[in-house]
């Protein structure tokens, strides 16, 4: 579980072994895309209240572990300046069976978007930029 300003290396992220009781690993990777609402995006900048973000992420992971029969949840969220194609968030959920793994993974990303104090600024190719508000954040990757 981490908030980092360094690139997230997926190979490393997914190299952690799952418990032997697990038969399923569901994952979600959020990457920076080059467009939003029809506008060309040049790069993103993520601001963060790091202390609280890590605290809320830990809470979300605990909620997932309590609510589903899952055994391991890994989360990493990058902040700072991210280019197109960079990994913004990576989630991995290990469980005995796939249904729980998928559901818990979905829960973790949705809750992160809603509750973790991280804010995205889009810098567009036309030179303008804006902070993304929650109102239209739900359509984002």
């Amino acid at each position: 579980m981490s908030v980092t300003d360094k690139p997230i290396a997926l190979q490393e992220f997914f190299s952690e072994p799952s418990p032997q009781s697990c038969g399923a690993v569901a994952s979600f990777v959020g990457i920076v895309r080059n467009h939003d609402h029809g506008r060309a995006v040049k790069f993103l900048y993520y601001d963060c209240y790091r202390f609280m973000a890590e605290k809320v992420m830990r809470t979300i992971v605990e909620e997932a572990l309590n609510r589903w029969d899952v055994e391991k949840v890994q989360v990493s969220h990058r902040v700072g300046r991210l280019g197109i194609g960079d990994v913004a968030v990576a989630i991995s959920v290990s469980a005995a069976h796939r249904a729980e793994a998928f559901e818990a993974c979905r829960f973790v990303i949705e809750e992160i978007k809603e509750r973790v104090p991280i804010w995205k600024r889009e810098i567009f190719e036309d030179g303008t930029s804006e902070w993304v508000s929650c109102a239209h954040a739900e359509t984002h990757g």
């Binding site: 209240y49 609280m52 973000a53 968030v89 104090p117 804010w119 929650c134 984002h140």
Partner: protein, 81 residues
């Protein structure tokens, strides 16, 4: 006198700066600090219905009373992920 630290992020950070110390009357609420800051910038009140408050990294309401050395964060709706 009670001294609190106020943190601002994203768009609010651009308006008010990242952080500042504010002296308030003992027992002042989060809402009273918001009112104080709104006097500085007319960009705060339009955002207020959606603002999220945290005191010492715990979510709180406008009615929360502040203590000396509390850390108050004023936040717009989150947009991570």
């Amino acid at each position: 006198m009670t001294r609190i630290k106020v943190l601002f992020f994203a768009e609010l950070g651009e308006i008010f700066g990242r952080a500042r110390f504010i002296d308030i009357k003992e027992g002042s609420t989060v809402g009273e600090v918001v009112d104080l800051l709104a006097a500085e910038s007319d960009r705060l009140y339009p955002k207020e219905p959606a603002l999220i408050y945290a005191v010492n990294a715990n979510l709180e309401t406008r009615e929360k009373k502040l203590k000396d050395r509390d850390e108050l964060a004023l936040m717009t709706p989150m947009s991570g992920g």
